[in-house]
Subunit: 130 residues, 4 copies
C-alpha cells in the first residue's frame, strides 16, 4: 500500500466552498505515482495507459486540512491491473476510487504482458481491503 | 440530449503529448452545465451533489481539434439521476462517462425528491443511446 | 490582432464566486496560440519560451458570460518579442497583460534571432493600442 | 519570510516536459496562504484582492523534485502591499514574482486601510532581499 499526503490548495476550493470533484483525478494520480514510475522512469515515454476511472464521492473535502491518499492493488491481470484508492481527510473517508491501467507497447500500439518482476511488485500491494 | 463544444487548451496537453485524463471531469461538467443551472441558477448555492463518476478512456484526445460532448439522461430515480456522456474528437468516441447526481437539501443535509417539473425535463433527455 | 473567445468553466469559478486569477495565464496562452504555432507546429518541440508575464487584474470575471481575449504585439526585438493582451467580459476590460517570449534554440540552449518571415508577421500585429 | 514546499504533480508537467508557466500562480498563492488567512479566516469572505502579478521565469521546473517557495513583503502602503516571491528547485532560482494585493472592503466596494496590527505583521516580513 502506498500513502501520500496532499495539501488542498486555495485555487482548488470552488464556489461551493469545498474542493471540486474535478480536482480529484490529479490527486489520485499523485497517489499512484510510484507505480507509474515503476513501469517507466520517463514520464514522456509512459508504458501505462489509464482505461477506466471510477470514483465514489462520499464526503466533501475542505481547504485547510491535509488529505491522505491510500493506494493498493485490487487485481492483476495479464496486461492490466486495477488500483483501489481511498482519500481521507481528518480520518473520514471522502473518496473511494478504482482505476484500471493497461501496460501498453507504444511501438506495436497494443497491450503488452506485465513483466514478471513488475507483476510481483504489484502483487505485494494486493490486499483484501485498504 | 445536450451538445457542447470544447477547444482543448495548450495547457491541458500533457507530457505524453495528449490531453491528460485528469482534465476530463472539468470538460464533462461543462457538458451538463444546463442541468446544473436547471436545479440552481446560483452556482454558489447548488442543489446537486456528484456522488459517482465513472469514465472509460477509449481513445487519446489531442490538442488542435475541437471536442464534442454529448450528454443524455440514463436513469431518473426519486432523488438522484444518472447522466451518460460521450466525448468525440473527429467523430471518434474518446471517452464514455456516467455521472450520478443527487438532489440535495443543504438545510436538512439530506437527499430530497426531484421536483416534478425538473423530473419531466430530465425525462425528455432520457434515451436508449446517445 | 488576434481575437479568441473563452467560455469560463464552472470548475474555474472559485470560492470567492468569480474566476480566480490563477486561471488567467492558461486563457492568455489560448489567446496567443496562433503565434506559438507560427514558431513551431509541434507543441512538443517549441521554439518559444515565456520569460516574463505581467498581469493587471482590473475587474472580476464571472461564470456565465463568454470572455474575449485580444492579443497584439507590443514590441519586436532581435530574439524576443512582447505581447499585449486584454481580456474583456461584457465589454468591460478585466485583465491587461504583457508577456515576453524568447525565440530559443534548444540545440544550443541559447536565444536565437527571430527569422525574417516571422518577424514580418509579428510586425503586422504591432499596434499603438489594442 | 514564509517558506512553503510544493511537490510538482504529474498532471502539471506539460508537453514540453517541464512544469508549464500557467501552473505557477496557483503555487505562488500557496506561498502567501498565511497572509491571506491573516486578513480573513474565511476564504469565501476574502478581504484581499490581487491587482497585479509579475513573474520572471528564469529556469525550467521539472517533475520529480520538490520546489521551495520563499515569500517576503516588499512594500506596505496605506491600503495595499507588494509581496516578493522566489521559487527554487534544487537551490536554483526558477521564478521570481511580485504580487500586489489590496485590502478591500466588499461592503463599500472600495479599498480600505490596512489595520495597524496587520500592518505591523506585514512589516516584520519586509526585507531588503529574500
Amino acid at each position: 500500500m502506498f500513502k501520500k499526503i496532499i495539501t488542498p490548495r486555495i485555487s482548488e476550493t470552488n464556489i461551493t466552498r469545498h474542493i471540486g470533484h474535478t480536482v480529484i483525478p490529479a490527486w489520485l494520480e499523485e497517489g499512484y505515482e510510484e507505480i507509474i514510475l515503476l513501469f517507466s522512469q520517463d514520464l514522456a515515454e509512459p508504458s501505462l495507459i489509464t482505461v477506466n476511472m471510477n470514483m465514489d464521492f462520499l464526503h466533501e473535502i475542505f481547504f485547510g486540512k491535509d488529505v491522505e491518499i491510500l493506494t493498493g492493488v485490487k487485481k492483476v491481470g495479464t496486461s492490466s491491473f486495477v488500483l483501489q484508492q481511498e482519500v481521507y481527510q481528518e480520518r473520514r473517508l471522502c473518496v473511494r476510487a478504482s482505476t484500471t491501467l493497461v501496460h501498453f507497447d507504444y511501438s506495436t500500439h497494443k497491450p503488452a504482458s506485465i513483466p514478471k518482476t513488475l507483476r510481483n511488485i504489484l502483487k505485494e500491494h494486493v490486499s483484501a481491503s485498504l
